[in-house]
């Protein structure tokens, strides 16, 4: 809901009645009532201070100020931790260079917000004089915006100081709006904006233990489900204490799951889990793959995200069926790689013909081209990606003293990739790892390094047979089915999604809580929104493992979520 709507009282989200109805329908379909089951009561998660990601920052700004605000900036990427960039936010530091980027972004954003073309609908009041301070108007704007950006009501001291800064700057610059912009910049670079800090308080239900305070719980919910800061309604629910009651939390979660903003959350999670950040630097040799352009890269990523969202949210499909489904979307750039297919401008629904081997996500260009070399396919990279990204397994790095003599002059000696990687299996130092990657990747050899279908390589017919953990198949269709039936597939999704939701989890926590999530996921027909709901409603999601580090600092801050430690 854009900022202007906050003031006007409009409510673009579906009503809570609709949300509850969705919940009822969803659970009825899954054979359950709209009950609240929070899982193991001894389960906890860890409190983090997560650095906000670029996408979260942009999504939040868009919610608060609307889509007209444009930002051109590049925040430093996080390290991938336990398979997820999101977890890297829990350990990422801020360098001098990054801080300057935050400041530059804040300056550009604030300037647009107070610009003549935006101020009339983004600033809810008019100053008495435009060339001087106006405390009342500044307070009205900064208190509301500050609460949304910093995800809890501004500390009264901070609010007073921010308004005073706006006033002093307005007087100095002889411009109310310029003063407001400078104060807004301060809010945008403050630690309360840039760090998503899990603040805790004693848990009355578990004496001696901690729980997230209401606003931190709201933030954790919102960044998980929407990849953005909480909206006004969620903050109100936090303020009322609703999130501490089962019904109140369920109401909030179901509203969020029913919101169009869920799409941003679902896309962000899968974009991270599938390591699509690599697309930013993926490249193909245009001499070898002339049909593969920069547009293909963008569309390959988008095709998979569209397919996933459509299947798991719109159609409420079984997550596992993503790997056997023939339903997807097509664009003109991708159609060039789908021989014999034409596509109108934009995106169109597309069902792969029944006799086509292009079945499921593994045969989409994003996976095939994303895990290939710039000039050729790679059974090893594809097999490794399947194991690491989709089954949460770790494929060891090659040994440093590996003997490459077996692979010399591969062009001359090996007509196909199958023959070439066979050399890996013949060398004991290589075979250990290549045995777990190559038989998977070889099943995708009917697709070249750009993702285009082929039946031959260098004039030699391609043998696309292989096996996954002992389950044999003859082609990519069989691989998709084997992966679909692999119990590691949903288990990996559960592991990644829980870790993503809490900003990183450890083995101890996971041991307690993951079995419960896996069981629920299975019982819910492997429906992703139900898994999101299960996680969001769990005790682990809101209970914190360790007491705060500095109990001596305990203080009560009025209207900021209670006790902070």
């Amino acid at each position: 809901m854009p900022f202007s709507a906050v003031f006007s009282g409009r409510h673009p989200e579906r009503s809570s009645v609709t949300a509850r109805l969705c919940c009822v329908i969803a659970f009825a379909l899954a054979g359950q009532g709209c009950s609240v089951d929070s899982g193991p009561q001894n389960a906890t998660s860890t409190a983090h201070a997560r650095l906000i990601s670029q996408k979260q920052y942009f999504n939040t700004v868009e919610y608060v100020f609307g889509p007209d605000i444009t930002l051109s900036t590049q925040f430093a990427p996080f390290r991938r931790v336990d398979g997820l960039l999101a977890n890297g936010g829990s350990t990422a530091g801020i360098t001098v260079g990054q801080m300057r980027e935050f400041q530059r972004t804040a300056g550009a954003l604030a300037e647009q917000v107070v610009s003549p073309e935006h101020r009339n609908f983004l600033i809810p009041c008019k100053p008495a004089r435009e060339d001087a301070a106006d405390e009342a108007c500044a307070t009205q704007f900064l208190s509301v915006v500050g609460r949304l950006l910093q995800r809890r009501p501004l500390d009264p001291k901070v609010q007073a100081a921010t308004v005073a800064e706006a006033g002093a700057a307005a007087d100095r610059l002889k411009d109310f709006y310029a003063g407001l912009a400078v104060a807004l910049e301060g809010l945008l670079i403050s630690p309360d904006m840039l760090f998503i800090i899990d603040q805790t308080e004693p848990d009355p239900k578990r004496p001696g233990q901690q729980r997230l305070d209401a606003y931190s719980l709201a933030s954790r919910l919102s960044f998980f489900l929407w990849d953005a800061a909480p909206d006004d309604e969620l903050l109100q629910a936090a303020q009322r204490g609703d999130l501490y009651t089962s019904k109140g939390r369920a109401r909030a979660v179901d509203r969020m799951l029913a919101s169009p903003r869920l799409e941003a959350g679902v896309r962000a999670f899968f974009d991270d889990m599938l390591a699509f950040d690599e697309f930013a630097v993926l490249t193909k040799d245009p001499g070898i793959y002339p049909a593969f352009s920069g547009e293909t890269l963008l569309d390959a990523r988008e095709q998979t995200l569209l397919t996933i969202y459509d299947h798991v949210v719109v159609k409420k499909g079984d997550y596992r069926d993503l790997f056997t489904s023939r339903e997807t979307f097509i664009s003109p750039a991708l159609a060039l790689l789908y021989d014999g297919v034409s596509a109108p401008p934009g995106w169109s629904r597309f069902e792969v013909p029944a006799d086509s081997p292009r079945v499921g996500l593994l045969t989409q260009v994003s996976f095939l081209a994303g895990h290939s070399h710039p000039g050729r396919s790679s059974p090893t990279l594809r097999g490794k990606a399947l194991r690491e990204l989709l089954l949460c397994q770790i494929v060891p790095r090659p040994p440093p003293n590996v003997d490459f003599s077996q692979l010399e002059n591969p062009d001359a000696h090996y007509p196909t990739q199958r023959d070439r990687v066979a050399a890996h299996l013949a060398a004991p130092s290589c075979a250990g790892c290549h045995r777990i990657t190559d038989p998977i990747g070889l099943a995708l050899e009917n697709f070249d390094g750009a993702g285009r279908y082929r039946t031959q390589e260098g004039g030699t017919p391609i043998d696309a047979s292989g096996n996954l953990d002992g389950k044999p198949f003859t082609d990519a269709v069989g691989l998709g089915q084997a992966l679909r039936d692999n119990p590691g597939l949903p288990a990996c999704l559960v592991k990644r999604m829980y870790s993503y939701s809490v900003g990183g989890s450890d083995i101890k926590e996971e041991k307690i809580v993951l079995p419960y999530f896996r069981e629920r996921f299975e019982a819910d027909g492997y429906r992703v929104p139900e898994l999101m709901r299960t996680i969001a409603m769990s005790t682990a999601f809101s209970s914190i493992a360790e007491p705060a580090a500095t109990p001596a600092q305990t203080q009560v801050v009025a209207d900021r979520g209670g006790t902070r430690k």
Binding site: Q74, T91, G97, M99, Q103, A168, L173, A183, F195, G375
Partner: protein
């Protein structure tokens, strides 16, 4: 007379700051005919020309048979893989027969080598980033007065291609876009030191005031997080302090700098991708901006990466990228080396020569900018095909204000490569008695390169 001497001792910044007295004025300044002292070795203020430090990186080492010269010392021969260095041979030093010792740590392919040479320490695992990189250490000593403590760029198009970090979780991201790099350095916040007039931006004064509130708030927030997060908040606090310093600088008229010239904004970024031609173009564009950023005293510490450690640079029409080529291309029986792998290394050496030349092309004082820099160029392996760390090559370029010689091929006699970086630290005036750990620990400078 006494008063006059007192006035002479005031720097231009101090005079202007006094004139401003917190208010907004425009100060007309005649462009000085003489930016330097009479003998061209110091700024007009009397301060000596600053000595700067930079790094350069190329991935995947070399083929020693066609890379390592036969002759040591000055006037060394240039085997075919480094033939491109002919135009800068006398401006660089080539160090061979040095080692990166991993001791009991594993040899993490394409990682251990560069980390040792940039930090003096062998990482214990692929997630381990020990210490801080040499540029960060040196920037702490010499980078406090320039606008940017460090500037980091990469020709790979990937901002993650950086060999600079403060700690395990804080890499200095590299700028891959020439357009963005221009904007970052010479965009709206750039103050031309040779501008005829100077008007402090009143908005900056307001920003500085607001920033003090953010600093106060950070102190409070730091109290409510755990110890690990507290360290991150402390780092954030330090970054805010740097912002404050930047605001102060923006409110102060900079000293004129003769070597600093107007830079034209790039019309557009080079095409995406990492084929070697695109990389060379991107590298040249970023280099030109970096060189002028140094000449204009926007930074005194800089990092440039030509390629990643396991470089994926492409040769048009050849199916394998550089890294894969080093492992899968056979050693040509007639040539005695991997021809395509060598082709990639030669392209890297061409760009290294371009980088050095760009500093030499800027006149500074009686000489060139290259006379007042020391550039430390490293790689990840000696022979990438087998991930070797023995005999790993490295370079320096420049003469560090006359403190080092150039034009030499220096034999490391199997000692740690960390010695070259340690020598750089000493040359830059750092008060360090040793650098590195375990077998890479050294107290021994490379005396041959010292003037």
């Amino acid at each position: 007379m006494k008063n006059l001497r007192k006035l002479e001792s005031l720097g231009r910044r101090r005079v202007l700051r006094g004139m401003l007295n917190g208010g907004i004025v425009t100060v007309g300044l005649p462009l000085l005919n003489c930016f330097l002292n009479d003998n061209g070795t110091a700024l007009a203020s009397g301060a000596p020309l600053p000595v700067r430090f930079g790094t350069w990186f190329w991935g995947l080492g070399m083929n020693s048979k066609i890379f390592v010269p036969n002759k040591l010392g000055a006037g060394y021969d240039l085997p075919e893989e480094i033939a491109a260095l002919a135009r800068v041979r006398d401006d660089i030093n080539l160090f061979t027969n040095f080692n990166a010792f991993r001791d009991s740590s594993p040899n993490i392919c394409h990682y251990t080598g560069w980390v040792i040479m940039r930090t003096g320490q062998a990482p214990t695992g692929s997630e381990d980033r020990p210490g801080e990189t040499i540029d960060v250490t040196i920037a702490r000593a010499i980078g406090r007065t320039s606008r940017f403590p460090t500037l980091t760029a990469t020709a790979t198009g990937d901002m993650r291609t950086s060999f600079s970090y403060l700690n395990a979780n804080s890499p200095n991201s590299a700028e891959p876009s020439p357009l963005n790099f221009y904007s970052q350095i010479f965009g709206a916040d750039y103050q031309d030191p040779n501008a005829e007039s100077f008007t402090p931006n009143p908005r900056v004064m307001a920003r500085k005031s607001v920033l003090s509130g953010v600093l106060d708030r950070t102190r409070e927030v730091t109290k409510i997080v755990g110890s690990e997060d507290r360290a991150r908040l402390d780092q954030y606090f330090t970054a805010l302090r740097d912002l404050e310093r930047q605001f102060d600088q923006q409110l102060t008229k900079p000293e004129p700098i003769a070597a600093c010239h107007a830079v034209t904004a790039p019309a557009q970024d080079p095409k995406n991708g990492i084929d070697s031609d695109a990389v060379a173009i991107r590298h040249k564009m970023l280099t030109d901006l970096m060189v002028m950023a140094v000449a204009c005293d926007q930074t005194r510490v800089f990092n440039m990466a030509y390629s990643a450690s396991s470089a994926t640079t492409i040769k048009a029409g050849y199916e394998k990228p550089h890294h894969t080529t080093t492992h899968e291309e056979g050693v040509d029986s007639k040539l005695g080396y991997q021809p395509t792998a060598s082709w990639f290394t030669r392209r890297a050496m061409e760009s290294w020569a371009t980088f050095v030349e760009a500093f030499r092309n800027v006149k500074e004082g009686d000489g060139t900018l290259l006379d007042n820099v020391l550039i430390y160029a490293t790689t990840d392996h000696a022979w990438a095909r087998v991930h070797s760390l023995e005999g790993i090559p490295l370079f320096t370029a420049g003469r560090a204000g006359g403190r080092v010689k150039s034009g030499l091929h220096i034999d490391g006699k199997g000692t740690t490569a960390v010695r070259v970086g340690y020598t750089g630290m000493k040359v830059l005036g750092l008060d360090v008695n040793s650098w590195g750990t375990k077998s890479n620990n050294t107290t021994s400078e490379v005396s041959e390169m010292l003037a």
